[in-house]
């Protein structure tokens, strides 16, 4: 059990690798240790009477995996699925969960100490979903708090 919770990277290196993806023009990232895989597997079965943020369930190599619509979580309305839409599969509390994003980005290496507190009102959404922002050469990378995004209680059933 040496999975590292985001923001608690081994102190000696101070480096954190972030898997990134786009939501519109916004670049977002999650610590790569939390990501199991990123795929374009979008054959979803919708779940009746599930919370609005649940896009459906899918078969990922024999496991039934919940797929969350990140746009809905962030209050941006449901995502339009196209061929670039990607599914970022993370492991959270022993469960595999997919997070839908618009398209996949690169892996970015960031220094822990360079991650700043998020400015209020990033991407027009609630700040509690963000761990911080990291300045890249060409813009900002928003570091997501996966656990907050997946917090169940925050979304009453639709």
């Amino acid at each position: 059990m040496n999975a590292v919770v985001a923001g608690q990277a081994p102190a000696k290196t101070d480096e954190v690798e972030l898997a990134t993806f786009y939501l519109g023009d916004a670049l977002m990232g999650v610590p790569i240790e939390q990501v199991e895989e990123i795929n374009h597997h979008l054959d979803l079965t919708p779940v009746p009477r599930a919370p609005a943020c649940v896009r459906g369930v899918m078969n990922l190599r024999g496991e039934v995996v919940t797929v969350i619509d990140l746009r809905t979580v962030l209050g941006l309305g449901p995502a339009a699925v196209d061929r670039r839409t990607c599914n970022v599969v993370v492991r959270s509390r022993g469960e595999q969960i997919g997070i839908l994003a618009d398209r996949v980005g690169d892996v970015v290496c960031a220094r822990q100490s360079a991650i700043e507190r998020p400015p209020a009102n990033v991407a027009g959404a609630d700040g509690r979903f963000f761990r911080g922002v990291f300045k890249l050469e060409h813009g900002l990378l928003i570091v997501l708090d996966v656990e907050q995004v997946l917090a169940v209680d925050a979304y009453p059933p639709s």
């Binding site: 059990m1 054959d43 079965t45 009477r49 078969n59 919940t66 509390r93």
Partner: protein, 902 residues
């Protein structure tokens, strides 16, 4: 290995040590002075190991209790003490406490065990006070084994000091121990830290997580088998990859067959690793029964059969509490006091029998007692008193329905609420829990004749048979266990047969109102066009608890065995869903929760409306038939009551073994019959898939191969028993222009497998060597069927075509009958009149009467009861009928016995 793992191992090991301690202690008690010393040693060693490890790990309270327990056991071992009931009680209670502490080991040091310690020490000192007994020295072998060197060891009172305390100042001995326990409450830094770090890494739930519950012991042979299968799977995969790349279609077929076979075997073997004997649950009952009968002042013998029957681990774990409740009920409510039993002519000691056995791919568990039985009339009084029923409802309620009252929430069977049971939170929970496991509970009882509760459970939960249905373009799975039947209503009839009662849709199914739920609406799905009324409706009749309703779906896909997968945490609030599964095409289908849908839709049984509906307008008797054809030109029918269910299978799954056709099916073998082999008819055409009509015969399931199902229809019972009569064909009817021959399923199964019918137990008759039954029925067809049922069970049958003929037969009979089975609606003299005459006759007065009827309205049942009919059953419900016959004969025999001894 960190400390957490060591503790977890300790817990697992201690659990195993304590697993059988109750029965061992009880066996020691039962043997008295002739006790098996090896058994005592086993218990002693188990407790001793726990003591040693607990001391090493700093669980001082566990260590202390184990120590005192060990002291008493040592006396027993040295033959200085023969445990009587009191001593055994103390030992049992201490073992319970020990177990409870081990289950919550992290908090064990904070618990107070002084009560148990004092009681144990009293036993030791009480014995020491007797001058003959030598001083209770500690067993010499404990000293070297005692964990040494642990820094926490000092906090624990040393054994020598304790031993000294034992012999010098016994009554106050808990005193020196208590502060020691308090002192050790904190110093477990190692454990605390370990917990903390696990918590941090996994982000798990705060607090102490349950330590285990995820261990299974697997025989090495099974592991070897798994390894072999895994090897074969790898080989098959390689073959598959090769074949696919070479695009060799012919070879692909054989490779896929191989993969198929290996996968099934793998599945089966893995399932085996999860199987555990039910004995692990049964093992606790001797103790339960002993304690309970002591408390209640009853005498009770417990017999256990079928301990070795295996069930899935998860079911074993879940079924313990419901079974315990049933066993307690049997002792508390079922058995009478010894005095009452003797008065009733029974032996003073009652018997509770537990029996587990496999049948038809399910595990059956029976809990029976030979006690007072359940009195339906009293149940009704009670329900009225509690306001669960109106007096009017109670009046028209049949006995069988009344028995179901005990499964209602808030209903307690006990006359007075005892400490033991009767808190009114019992049977409803039992039923719900067992149904949640995919099982069923039924009751078989009669006043004075004892009670038998039948529990049927599936072998495993992980894979369940289910029906896949279509709704709003998606597929959903419904567990077969909740499905009672399927009904298709034609588009032309949908408007008239689906009625509306106060906004709710209902369907009239054989005279009863069935509430309907449209699945798309229940799930909040939008359908493209609202043309539901114009379409044919597929109604799936499902049952959840005591609620039966119809689920309207768009279409039926297939009957499949599905692997149940849990839904993620975001869907915990979805009451309508029980889980998900992956279908053959790799897509996910959701599994419906039948009880959840009912409560989501706030379904209730439309009781008031059922009474004033146009139910009783059809006086003509009808019979529901499953119509099918074997060859397109020839039509056949079987009574629906005899059909357990329908399956659709691929013909290549049917094996031919020794000239007989069988289907590998739900973990067992289903023998199959082909119609053309047993009756005169054209052979069925070869097809890729066939239906299998599954029915019960000779206490097993049998399948009849049927290429095409035509319909399920209610038809009049004017049956021609002459024209087409031959063995296997009971008669024929002309229906909507076609001639339908009625297949006698029992006759053809008897023809095909005469050996099945050889060794059937014949019910005992008090008066005759062979029990005699009089079958009274005006319809030739039904009379022949009924007579056939009874003959098959070993009865001597006399037939009568109406009440008058029956009355003559009874009057002229040289030997008396044991049972009368009669129809109600008959010319000349009807069944009610016949029953009245029998009851008024001094000689025949107590002859048991069973009424069979195809329209058992509550009013009619009530009238029947007033004239003295014992039981009502649906015509052709063979199993129920035979159970009733056996029950009534048994009660009769008991009465005869009581009468002769009085």
């Amino acid at each position: 290995m960190d400390e957490r793992e060591i503790i977890s191992d300790f817990v697992i090991e201690s659990r195993e040590h304590l697993a059988d301690i109750e029965n061992q202690l009880l066996a020691i008690e039962a043997a008295g002075a002739d006790m098996d010393l090896e058994l005592v040693n086993t218990v002693f060693r188990a407790v001793h190991s726990i003591k040693g490890a607990a001391g090493f790990l700093g669980f001082t309270t566990v260590g202390q209790l184990a120590h005192d327990l060990e002291n008493v056991l040592n006396l027993v071992r040295n033959r200085q003490l023969v445990p009587d009931a009191t001593v055994t009680d103390v030992l049992l209670r201490s073992a319970d406490k020990l177990r409870a502490m081990i289950e919550d080991i992290d908090h064990s040091n904070g618990l107070d065990v002084s009560e148990h310690v004092t009681a144990l020490q009293k036993i030791v000192t009480g014995l020491l006070a007797e001058p003959i007994a030598p001083p209770a020295a500690l067993p010499p072998d404990t000293a070297p084994e005692a964990p040494a060197g642990s820094d926490r060891e000092a906090a624990r009172p040393s054994e020598a000091a304790e031993a000294a305390a034992d012999s010098t100042a016994p009554p106050t001995s808990p005193a020196p121990v208590a502060p020691a326990a308090a002192a050790t409450r904190q110093p477990r830094p190692g454990t605390a830290k370990a917990t903390g770090s696990t918590h941090g890494a996994a982000g798990a739930v705060p607090g102490a997580t349950p330590i285990t519950e995820s261990n299974v012991r697997v025989p090495v042979t099974v592991l070897d088998q798994l390894m072999n299968l895994a090897g074969e799977l790898v080989l098959s995969r390689n073959q598959l990859l090769q074949t696919v790349s070479s695009a060799d279609h012919a070879a692909l077929g054989s490779v896929s067959a191989r993969v198929n076979q290996v996968t099934s075997e793998l599945q089966e073997t893995i399932m085996q690793t999860r199987l555990q004997p039910i004995g692990t649950v049964f093992g606790r009952f001797p103790r339960v029964v002993r304690d309970l009968s002591n408390t209640l002042g009853k005498q009770c013998q417990l017999t256990i059969e079928g301990q070795e029957v295996e069930l899935d681990k998860s079911i074993i774990e879940a079924v313990g509490d419901p079974l315990t409740h049933l066993v307690r009920n049997a002792v508390d409510h079922g058995l009478e006091t010894p005095e009452a039993r003797v008065r009733a002519g029974k032996p003073a000691a009652g018997t509770v029998a537990l029996r587990a056995f496999h049948q038809a791919g399910k595990v059956n568990i029976q809990i029976s007692d030979d006690g007072r039985g359940i009195d339906a009339a009293r149940l009704k009084e009670k329900a009225v008193a509690k306001g669960l029923l109106t007096p009017e409802q109670a009046r028209v309620m049949s006995d069988r329905e009344a028995l179901l009252l005990i499964f209602r929430p808030g209903f307690s069977m006990a006359e007075k609420v005892t400490e033991v049971s009767g808190r009114g939170v019992g049977m409803d929970v039992v039923k719900t829990n067992i149904e949640r496991l995919g099982g069923t509970v039924t009751i078989d009882t009669g006043p004075g004749a004892g009670t038998t509760i039948h529990v049927k459970l599936p072998l495993t939960l992980a894979i369940i048979p289910s029906l896949v249905v279509r709704c709003a373009g998606r597929r959903y799975a419904i567990p077969q266990a909740s499905i009672r039947e399927l009904v298709r209503v034609k588009a032309s009839e949908a408007a008239t047969r689906i009625e509306r009662v106060k906004q709710a849709e209902v369907f009239r199914l054989r005279g009863a109102l069935l509430p309907l739920v449209r699945l798309d609406r229940a799930l909040g799905l939008e359908q493209p066009q609202e043309a539901a009324a114009a379409k044919a409706a597929n109604i799936i009749v499902v049952e959840a608890g005591h609620l039966r309703y119809g689920l309207i779906v768009d279409g039926l896909c297939d009957s499949e065995e599905i692997v149940v997968k849990p839904l993620g945490r975001h869907m915990k609030g979805c009451a309508c869903l029980a889980g998900a599964t992956i279908l053959g095409d790799g897509r996910v289908a959701l599994i419906l929760d039948i009880a959840g849908i009912a409560s989501h839709c706030q379904l209730a049984i439309p009781e008031e409306d059922a009474a004033d509906g146009p139910a009783a307008d059809s006086v003509q008797e009808t019979q529901t038939l499953l119509l099918f054809s074997n060859h397109p030109a020839e039509h056949f029918g079987v009574p629906m009551e005899l059909v357990a269910r329908l399956e659709r299978v691929r013909t290549d799954r049917i094996d031919s073994v020794g000239g007989q056709q069988v289907l590998q099916y739900r973990g067992g073998t289903l023998p199959l019959l082909s119609l053309e082999q047993h009756v005169t008819c054209k052979a069925r055409a070869e097809a890729a898939k066939v239906y299998v009509v599954v029915f019960a015969a000779a206490q097993r399931e049998v399948g009849l191969l049927v290429p095409e199902i035509l319909d399920i229809r209610s038809v009049p019972t004017q049956i021609d028993t002459l024209t087409f009569r031959e063995p296997g064909i009971a008669g024929s009817i002309v229906f909507e222009g076609m001639t339908v021959r009625l297949v006698d399923l029992h006759e053809i199964s008897r023809k095909a497998h005469p050996d099945w019918y050889d060794s059937q137990p014949v019910p005992q008759s008090p008066a005759n060597a062979v029990p005699r039954v009089l079958v009274v029925e005006d319809s030739d067809f039904f009379r022949k069927q009924l007579a056939g049922f009874f003959e098959a069970e070993g009865f001597e049958v006399q037939e009568a075509e109406d009440g008058a003929a029956a009355w003559n037969a009874l009057a002229e009979a040289e030997t008396r009958f044991d049972l009368v089975v009669t129809d109600i609606e008959m010319p000349n003299m009807n069944g009610l009149e016949l029953a009245r005459r029998i009851r008024d006759d001094g000689r025949l007065g107590d002859l048991p009467i069973v009424a069979v009827t195809s329209l058992a309205g509550d009013d009619e049942i009530q009238r029947g009861r007033e004239v003295g009919i014992n039981e009502y059953h649906v015509k052709l419900d063979r199993e129920q009928l035979m159970a009733a016959a056996a029950r009534l004969l048994k009660a009769q025999a008991r009465r005869a016995l009581a009468g002769s001894s009085a």
